[in-house]
Every structure is written in C-alpha cells, then in structure tokens.
C-alpha cells in the first residue's frame, strides 16, 4: 500500500494535509517548511510544482508560483530539495502540478525521479481519468505512488465512482465549484454533497479541500470526511512568517482554533 493511503488509514480522522508552493517564499525553503509542518502536527504535505499558467488556482497560489519561478525553481531542483526533506521527515509528500509539466519532463523520468526523491503521491488536476487509466495507472502502482483525483459538487455520480476507484491515495473532494483561495463558509448545499458522496460506498478515503482556511472550516470538513487540505491560507501565513514557530502557530490555529 502506498504511504499516502497508509497514513490516512492509520489516522482515520482529522487528517491535516497542508499545501505550499515549492520555491516559495525562498528557493531552498522546502526542507525547513516540511520539517516545521511535521513538528507542528500536519499529517500530509502537498507540494505545489510552480507553473506559469495555473488554471485552477486563485491569486494567492498564482503569486506564490510566480515568486517561486522567479526564485529559479525548476523540477530538478525541486527533486533535490524533496530528497533532502524526506531524509528528515516521515510524513508523506504529495506533488501537485499540471499535466504539461510532467509531459515535458517525460512521464517515466518524472515518476522515477519522484520515487527516488521519496515522493509518495501525485495530484494532476488536468490529467483526464481515462488517460491515467490507459497510460499510467500501472506505472504508479509499480512505484507505489498514490494518485488522487478531484471531484466537485458538479461531478456526476458515475464520475465520482470512477474517481473513487482510481484514487489510490485519497479522493479529493473539492468543497465548492471554484478555483483555490476562496474563504467563504461551507453551505448547506455543500453538506448535502458531502453526505451524498459518503453514502456511495467508495472505498478510498476522502479529504475535503478548497476554502478550508480556519479551525471552523477544518472542523466542518472533518465531520464529513477523513480530513482536510489547507492551501492558500498557509501560503499567506508563510509570507508573514516562514519560521518553524510561525508554522506551528498556523497549524495550531487550524487544528485547535
């Protein structure tokens, strides 16, 4: 079993997955942020591979990606940094990026380098499920990489089941139909959607992401899933204070209010 799934299975509840962008705020900050997150009590790390044209991302992640690219982040450097990070932490690192980045790097080369660096899973929001199934599922399984597909409130039941079946890491429940970085409360309609998905008999564990930005939204998400993903609000916190103490304060504000 891949490390992402194993970690979620072990913890079952209140899993906290924290996103940040590789190369932001500084080029070499991955290992220290990763250590800070583990020490502060995060369970999973989602590391964004900065992209020039991140279509699913709001302003905060766009800006952090721009900074990271200006800092000189690229995939080779990213893998070096991840290797350093995984030498000193035990919580799984998941890479999140756009399909074109993997295509240009070469899919096999990418998967090999990711595995060597100690990456445990991947999220590629614009990779079609049929293409993953036809071309890559076996390569992921052979390397023990956990894959996570996204579903949104507009996703049909048939596709929810397909995404559940193909998500060997966790099923990523996007809380609302939006790009990242929204900070509104979770509505009744969203509760109904979470309930529906939970009653579909999907084996894969589920995490809720997009818009989770404080203890209240984290607690709500945890009521309806195995845990939640926090992204933009952590990036904003890092911009103010990327020290381990700062990271601890942030994580604690999410977990404990």
């Amino acid at each position: 079993m891949n490390k992402v799934r194993a970690k979620i299975n072990e913890k079952q509840q209140r899993v906290l997955n924290v996103y940040f962008t590789a190369g932001h705020p500084t080029l070499d900050s991955i290992p220290s942020i990763a250590e800070g997150l583990q020490e502060a009590g995060a369970d999973l790390i989602e590391l964004g591979m900065p992209y020039s044209d991140p279509l699913a991302d709001g302003l905060t992640i766009q800006k952090s990606s721009e900074v990271a690219l200006k800092n000189g982040m690229n995939l080779k450097h990213l893998f070096d940094q991840v290797k350093q990070a995984t030498a000193s932490i035990e919580i799984p690192i998941i890479l999140m990026g756009y399909y074109n980045q993997l295509i240009q790097f070469g899919m096999d080369r990418f998967l090999d380098m990711a595995t060597t660096a100690g990456v445990s899973g991947l999220i590629i929001p614009d990779l079609p499920m049929f293409e993953y199934e036809a071309k890559f599922q076996k390569s992921f399984e052979d390397r023990n990489l956990g894959m996570s597909f996204l579903i949104s409130p507009m996703t049909s039941d048939e596709r929810i089941l397909q995404a559940g079946r193909l998500s060997s890491g966790f099923l990523y429940m996007v809380s609302q139909s939006s790009i990242t970085g929204k900070t509104q409360d979770i509505s009744q309609e969203q509760h109904a959607y979470f309930d529906k998905v939970n009653n579909m008999g999907i084996e894969s564990p589920r995490l809720i992401g997009f818009g989770i930005h404080n203890n209240e939204t984290f607690e709500t998400a945890c009521k309806y899933s195995n845990g939640a993903i926090v992204g933009s609000s952590f990036i904003r916190a890092l911009e103010k204070d990327a020290s381990k103490a700062g990271i601890k304060t942030f994580v604690s504000s999410i977990l404990n209010g």
Partner: protein, 411 residues
C-alpha cells in the same frame, strides 16, 4: 478532371472533424480541471445536438445575413494582383458588422448559450475584436457580458475597449504574465470555474478543450462555403489554388480553409507573427518556436521551456500575440497539409500601407501578416489566391499613426 478527382479522394480520414474525444491526429482533447468537466460536457452534448439542427441553422444563417451582413464579398484585388503577378481575391470579412470574422462565431455561440439556459457570458479578447463581437451579440440577446483583456492590450486597442463599454459589457483587465491574450484566457477560464452554473464562456478562437476547436471551426466555416461558390461564379473555377490566412489561435484560418481541407488541390497557407524576428526572443511564431504540449485545455503546439512553463510571446499585433495555436492547425502543419510562413512586425506594417494605398482598404494588423507573405508562397500568374481579409484596421489607427511618425523620423 477524373484523374484529379481520384487524387483528392485517396485520404480516408477527413480533416473536417476531430474524433469522438476531440483529437485531430495527436492534437486536441480536453485537459481541464474537474470543476469544468460538467460544463464542457454539457456544451459538447448541446453543440452536437444543435449544429445539424435545421432550426438552429436557420436562426444562425438569418442573423448572419441580416445582422452581420453576409455573404461578405470575394473581391478581385486587381492592382495588388499586378504587383504579385497572380490573381489575388480578398475575402472581405472586414466588411462584416463589427469589422472582423469574429462575429460569425459569437452569433453561433450566443444561440448555443441560450439553449444552454446561461444568462451570463464571458469572453477573452486580444485585439478586442472578439470582445466587441461578444459584447455585440450579448446586447442583441440581452445577456450580461464580461470580457477579459490583457492590460497591455487595453492600451494598444483602446477604440475597441470604448466600443465594448458602449455595448454594455464590462471589460476586466488581466494583470498576470505578459498581460496579453494568454493571460486574459487564463482569467476567463478561472471565472468560468467560479461561475460554472450560470455562465457560458464564448472562446474567440479555434482553441480550448473539445468541443471548442471544432465548434468555432464549424461556426466560421461559412467563410469557405461562400468562397467556394463565389469563386466559381466569378471565374468558373471550383477551387482556389491557394488560401492564405493569418493565425493567432486560428479561427479565421479554420473558417477560410474548412471546405477545402480534404481537397489536396488547394494549398493551405498560414501566416504567423514573427514579432521582431523568429530568433529575436520577441516572437509569436508558435509553429516554428513551439513544441507539443497543453495550453488552455488542449494538446497542441505551444511555446514553452523544457519544464513545460509557457513562454510569453510577442507580436505588435494583439490578436496574434498568443503562444499557442489551434489543434486542427497543429495537425495540418505537422502532417504537411498546411504550410506556415512568418511575417515580422515591420513586414506586416509595410503590408498595411501597401493595401491601403493600392486597393483603398486599411486592413487590421493581424490580417496584414497574411498579406505580408504573398510574395513568398510561390503563386503563378494563372493561380487564384484567396486571402482571408479577416478584419479592418480602424482599431489599429493609433499604432499605424505612431509607426508613420517613427518612419518619418528615420527618413
């Protein structure tokens, strides 16, 4: 005649339609985040339903006739023909209502938006022609309209911004990246993700996730349908020897080529924007500088670095300042069915002044790229060359006037 016929019919796969999943050969498809999937799928189904529906076609064609002013003339440019020692026919899309080919597509898509029950329309625009064409049909149908436009383009195409405002649209500046067409398209896609249920996104070129490239191509195909019968009526010849069009994303080219795609007797020529020169680092010559990858939801040719980061393009013309190209065009180019030439800013400018003085027609700067390559395509004196005169130059007057001043200073 019969000999020629067999040679056209040897290819079994028509270039006119992509496959089920939207691929033209290896290009096309739909590479989109899940949050857009339901919308794109709904659009695909409705589009399939309406495109051959006689009631839809009747409504579309009557608007093209009475609102847009079609058919647009196919005009023999005699003096230009003399200069280039061939027969040059101008397909006058510049005479359409709103001044470019873009309106053919927006008229069709607004009818589709109505069938989808969408009340809010968004669009991206570079030169502002697509923005104006979208704002126009939204005014016609009483729908809310938001147009994303790069901050740089808002500057250089100011008359079109004023027109959009007058038509009741809200123009939203795109401030990311190079603040041009690519960035406006990113912003429009993000808006669509945020407002998926209420909104239809009218893409302005033959780009984007399936079904957009096919849909925009079909809605522009009227151009080559007219070329075919107009040329026959005027010359007795059923097909042109060459069709030449500029290419940003590729909608005017797709429309001008469509009915000749499977007819190998017709040479298809694309004109790309070389900007300050192909190797200058300031260019938008996608097919020459680009490689296969994903941009705005489709697999195609685009300008990118080895890590897949999209490279900011450059062209003086806002409508060609785009780092990608439609998947149909990528397929035509890589298979050799279409040939590409690149024209620099300066060459395009010279073509603007030439057409103005020789034929009394001031073309759009985008269009001028197609005129600028005419001496290079190898057309003979008996050949019939159709040029897609995609738009008029009113929106570019500022650029033209400034360029005249610069020239005067040099002399």
């Amino acid at each position: 005649m019969s000999e020629v016929k067999t040679s056209i019919e040897t290819d079994l796969v028509s270039l006119k339609h992509p496959d089920e999943r939207g691929y033209y050969g290896e290009f096309g498809g739909a590479y989109i985040p899940e949050m857009l999937f339901a919308n794109v799928e709904q659009l695909r189904l409705i589009y399939q339903e309406v495109i051959d529906d006689p009631a839809f076609q009747a409504e579309y064609k009557s608007l093209l006739r009475d609102f847009v002013g079609r058919p647009s003339p196919l005009y023999l440019a005699k003096r230009l023909s003399e200069i280039y020692c061939t027969n040059i026919w101008l397909k006058r899309e510049d005479l359409n209502h709103t001044g470019a080919h873009k309106i053919n597509n927006t008229v069709g898509q607004i009818l589709i938006a109505k069938r989808l029950g969408k009340k809010r329309i968004i669009a991206e625009t570079g030169a502002g022609q697509h923005g104006v064409a979208t704002a126009t049909v939204c005014a016609l149908m009483g729908l809310e309209c938001f147009v994303y436009m790069g901050a740089v383009d808002i500057e250089r195409q100011a008359p079109n911004v004023a027109r959009m405002n007058m038509l009741g649209a809200t123009v939203i500046p795109a401030e990311s990246g190079s603040k041009t067409l690519k960035d406006a398209t990113n912003e429009a896609i993000r808006d669509w993700i945020n407002n998926a249920e209420t909104t239809h996104y009218i893409i302005g070129s033959a780009i984007g996730p399936h079904p957009y490239p096919d849909m925009v191509t079909q809605l522009q195909a009227i151009v080559s349908e007219e070329i075919a019968y107009q040329l026959t009526a005027q010359t007795g010849k059923e097909y042109p020897d060459y069709v030449v069009a500029c290419v940003g994303g590729g909608s005017n080219a797709a429309g001008a080529f469509y009915h000749f795609l499977d007819d190998k007797r017709v040479k298809l020529i694309l004109a790309e924007a070389a900007g300050k020169g192909i190797d200058s680092g300031h260019s938008a010559a996608t097919s020459i500088l680009g490689s296969k990858g994903i941009i705005h939801g489709c697999m195609t040719l685009l300008m990118q670095d080895p890590d897949g980061q999209i490279i900011e393009p450059y062209s003086l013309s806002a409508g060609l300042d785009y780092p990608g190209i439609g998947p149909l065009h990528a397929h035509l180019i890589t298979t050799g069915r279409a040939k590409v030439y690149a024209a620099t800013d300066d060459e395009a400018m010279q073509a603007v002044f030439e057409l103005s003085k020789v034929e009394g027609i001031i073309p759009a700067l985008e269009t001028a790229h197609a005129l600028a390559i005419l001496s290079r395509i190898g057309a003979g004196k008996d050949d019939h060359v159709v040029v897609s005169l995609s738009g008029r130059g009113d929106k570019d007057l500022n650029t033209y006037m400034n360029y005249e001043n610069i020239k005067d200073q040099v002399h």
